[in-house]
């Protein structure tokens, strides 16, 4: 694993250089990211990884996991269009990633939409993801079911509730938890960071959440010992690409295009200028 480690400064005022180091390392190493994901997101997710310099592999067949997963540098599992027949491959890949000490990232899409989905997510959380990324509702649903939050969580899922749910989940499971929102929250259970890049219209494009989860997998792949920092970097980079894309967009579809173009073209000066990550109390 040590050969995968890169030198990243962890002081707040160093976020700009850290983020740039993460992106440029992904471009240089082109980590192979196995994605077992939903049907809606496959296209944008693969293009997001390609534009960031990573190498996507959308391989979800149970039969292929013993041969293929050992070659991947990280694994991304997303339950967006889950059916029962997909779950064994997800679990098998996650177990193998664990055994091989490879990082893997879970996107618990719509975790609270059904008991089937929530149970599947809980089984996956039990397989020790390196990072879990969702929106506020998803993380609250998962934390409640996983940690047994007893305090009532109101239906508006205010930011403070999401922070509490994320922190509890991160502590209980020993992983990084990220919550997307107006400010993206990242926590390892102790530290809480806020990535403030991005634009609201990104929520009007399907699969942007799924895609940033895959980007997190790529960033953690090249810096597995600093998963907190790598996660914050990926969220910030994707948000910056959205900000630049928004300057050219006339609506959600052109934003999607410009976002990917911008991600591909990001340079150091732009990244250093725009990174906006803070420590939260």
């Amino acid at each position: 694993m040590e050969e995968n480690t890169i030198e990243v400064q962890q002081h707040d005022n160093q976020w700009g250089p850290n983020v740039w180091t993460h992106l440029s390392t992904v471009r240089q190493r082109s980590p192979l990211i196995q994605c077992i994901t939903n049907f809606v997101s496959m296209d944008l997710m693969a293009n997001t990884l390609l534009s960031a310099g990573a190498s996507p592999a959308m391989i979800h067949s149970l039969e292929e996991i013993p041969d293929f997963t050992p070659h991947a540098h990280a694994l991304c599992i997303n339950v967006g269009t889950l059916t029962a027949d997909w779950l064994p491959a997800m679990k098998s890949a996650a177990e193998l990633a664990n055994r091989l000490a490879k990082p893997w990232v879970l996107d618990p899409v719509a975790a609270g939409a059904s008991s089937f989905r929530l149970e599947a997510c809980l089984e996956l959380v039990g397989l020790k993801p390196t990072v879990i990324r969702g929106n506020g509702s998803e993380i609250i649903a998962l934390s409640k079911a996983s940690v047994g939050l007893t305090k009532g969580v109101d239906s508006s899922h205010e930011s403070s509730d999401a922070v509490e749910a994320a922190t509890s989940l991160a502590q209980a499971r020993g992983c990084i938890v990220a919550v997307s929102g107006a400010v993206d929250i990242i926590t390892d259970g102790q530290r809480v960071g806020g990535a403030q890049n991005g634009v609201a219209m990104m929520q009007k494009i399907t699969a942007t959440g799924c895609s940033v989860t895959a980007l997190i997998a790529a960033f953690v792949a090249i810096d597995p010992l600093h998963a907190f920092e790598a996660t914050a970097s990926a969220l910030s980079i994707f948000g910056i690409a959205g900000e630049i894309g928004m300057g050219m967009a006339k609506g959600p579809a052109s934003l999607r295009m410009h976002l990917i173009d911008s991600l591909y073209g990001l340079d150091q000066a732009t990244v250093l200028h725009r990174v906006n990550i803070i420590s939260l109390p």
Copy 2:
């Protein structure tokens, strides 16, 4: 159901205001639309719904229907890439929608392409869709098989044949039938309307038909007691977005982008100016 009803004028010269009311109500209420659809269309369909202000949920697992479908405001079922293992979820969701008096919309893609597909469509038609939308060939194939049209239908599927097939199907099944074409036809079995918005190049983009069916589901979701009007409105709105997009497009791929951007940005003046819906004799 009454709480879902909105005041819509039904006089022909009121189509402009009606259409605008439908769109602005979708934007305001953001109805949750469950889509059980084909693999090709998932991305464009979800983005169409998001751009119109609705909330898409691509959930097709049989296990999730009892938990999730009751929360949806309408259901969209599309058989484009049907396999035998998807049919139980489609039927289960349609049955539940019926039982809960939720509107649901059927897109019988390529209904006549195989006996397997035609039989599946007939089973779904038997589950009382609120609206069926297809192209001329699909509606003729379905009407022939469902109603037992005895009159020969010529292979060119002229507009008049499609109108007859649609009217028969609507009468026999007590639903709205819409036929996409140079002029989109909408009928409840008695009235026949024609939505004349749209541009020919939209047929060169995959999944535009599927996506407008999902848009119909969103419009019917917010006005279930006027499914005829809501269907005409959705067809007109999608066509208007295509017309505006065409003004900026250089080919099918840029038309697709501009169409979605335009759908997102449509304002009242543009809608009132462009709506072109007529009564057909």
Copy 3:
């Protein structure tokens, strides 16, 4: 079959007119191309076929093959997101295409990624594809497993290795083999052609390889007796569309859009001016 034959000159200096004849014939006849492909590529593949003037049908249900495949003019099979339950339909469709003397094209995506995938590809190769198109690694893996190449192939998969692997495979299987790369290679086991159109950034867009395979199917559909020439034409046309698109692109996502727009709009003068196909020794 003779009715499907078009007059194509086969002299090298005639490539421009040949390529244009192929494209204009596809536009005129709009061949129906059945695609059994991966989830990632369905959208771009369908849009590529539509923009070239062909008619895509993404139909992969085993139950539908006896009814539908006889109506298709060519078949495209792609194993990109293969699972065991998809293989019977692929084999059934390929067998039926063979029996009916319809051309079919195989895309052995990531053939070497697992033994499951390689064995599936070998089974499909045994069903006599008209054309096999892959990248260098895929063709080398397939040729090695299929023909039993004994000469060591180095891991860099240099162009010369790929040519040798492609030629061996073409000879052993009596098919056309195409290898995408900086120069696309086409061989029937005797002749070796090189299509030099295209731009490097096309590799940063997911599913471009899959899509050009489908385009090959459309071109072979209208000229099955000259599969070598039709394959070279399709590769050249897709590359030209990429070259023109690149002139307007700011990154991979806008290139994807402009590529499809350009494919739709290609005119004779542009094709004649840009075609760059050579004979290789």
